[in-house]
Symmetry: C2
Subunit: 213 residues, 2 copies
């Protein structure tokens, strides 16, 4: 091969390596930034009641919930998409904090804060990945696709089980009534995974029944 | 439809509902059991050095690592399988505890403990899921398939980055030399994701170089 043809090739290789390095720098900056999710505390405690759960470990746990409970989805789901959705669904909490389901919030203000958080945090990634993960997060938030509806079910049911295991830690703290549990949690679980919500009825009835006596 | 045909159908439906309830009981027992992974502490600290990382949040973080870094895998991987593998890869630590990569262990004894842990914990699931997750975990442990080799790379590189971010928290604690880092960590990262290990060389050189002065 004549020399005149080698040079552009070498330049091309150098450029490719530079691009790989640039992408890795952006990707590792994102992965280091999201480490902060491990320091965002939720209202729910661990199942042994020892401490509050953080959003990083919560994200792992509900990805496992989805993997194990996929067969109970009301409509067939793409479980691989659901898992990815759940891995990233709460990343905005690094800036926005957790908003307990039984707390009270200004919804419009919260949404604006979360959108800004999504801009900043997903914005650390290379453009193709930023767009892909942002779209997946928006789909989860919209809660309209079958995948998102099931993902929401799973996200809502895990704290119910933590409460049943701990004797109602966050239900007591937020003074939750059975009606409020149905209004804020139950219908969302049932919408995506009806058999799962049905299955929990006896335990929920017992807990609220014992408190009413 | 004559009555004589309705009865078996109703019986069939009852049996189906019973089976769903039985599966859900087993699945929720498993999901509650693995909550304990959030209380298993690792040698590595969070990137801000504030506390030790637990294995639940670590499992989330490396699933995110795999998702974001998949393009750098040495051989093409099925990223959905890799993510599932990483979500479950450390579940045995509920019984076996974490074994720091820079610590010293009786490998045969550790393997026996982990096998017993896998028997017990995956054994909580319905048989089909028990077999599927056990096989995926065994594949990770064997570190022979392309998916497992990449999963191992990701599992090994995350503590390196936490050390670079914190100024070497667990490297100092375990008195790690640059050679030991290469022997126990580097070649495993490079085997599954060579560009990733290459990319980190400058930062690693700087850290160990500053200590040698």
């Amino acid at each position: 091969m004549p020399r005149s043809q080698q040079q552009p090739k070498q330049l091309g290789l150098t450029r490719m390596l530079d691009q790989t390095d640039e992408r890795l720098s952006q990707q590792l900056a994102f992965l280091t930034e999201i480490d902060k999710l491990k320091s965002v505390l939720r209202a729910t405690t661990l199942c042994d009641g020892s401490r509050r759960e953080n959003t990083g470990e919560h994200s792992w746990h509900i990805a496992m919930y989805a993997l194990i409970l996929a067969e109970h989805a009301k409509s067939p789901v793409n479980i691989d998409r659901v898992i990815k959705m759940l891995l990233i669904h709460d990343i905005v909490e690094i800036d926005a904090g957790d908003k307990p389901i039984h707390g009270s919030h200004d919804i419009a203000e919260m949404e604006a804060i979360e959108q800004a958080a999504a801009d900043r945090i997903f914005g650390l990634l290379p453009e193709d990945q930023r767009k892909e993960l942002r779209a997946l997060w928006e789909e989860f938030e919209a809660a309209e696709s079958d995948d998102a509806i099931f993902a929401k079910s799973v996200d809502r049911v895990q704290p119910v089980i933590a409460n049943l295991e701990t004797g109602g830690d966050s239900w007591l703290e937020y003074n939750v009534s059975r009606q409020q549990l149905e209004d804020r949690v139950g219908w969302k679980v049932a919408k995506g995974a009806p058999a799962l919500w049905q299955h929990l009825q006896a335990r929920i009835r017992n807990w609220f029944g014992a408190r009413a006596e």
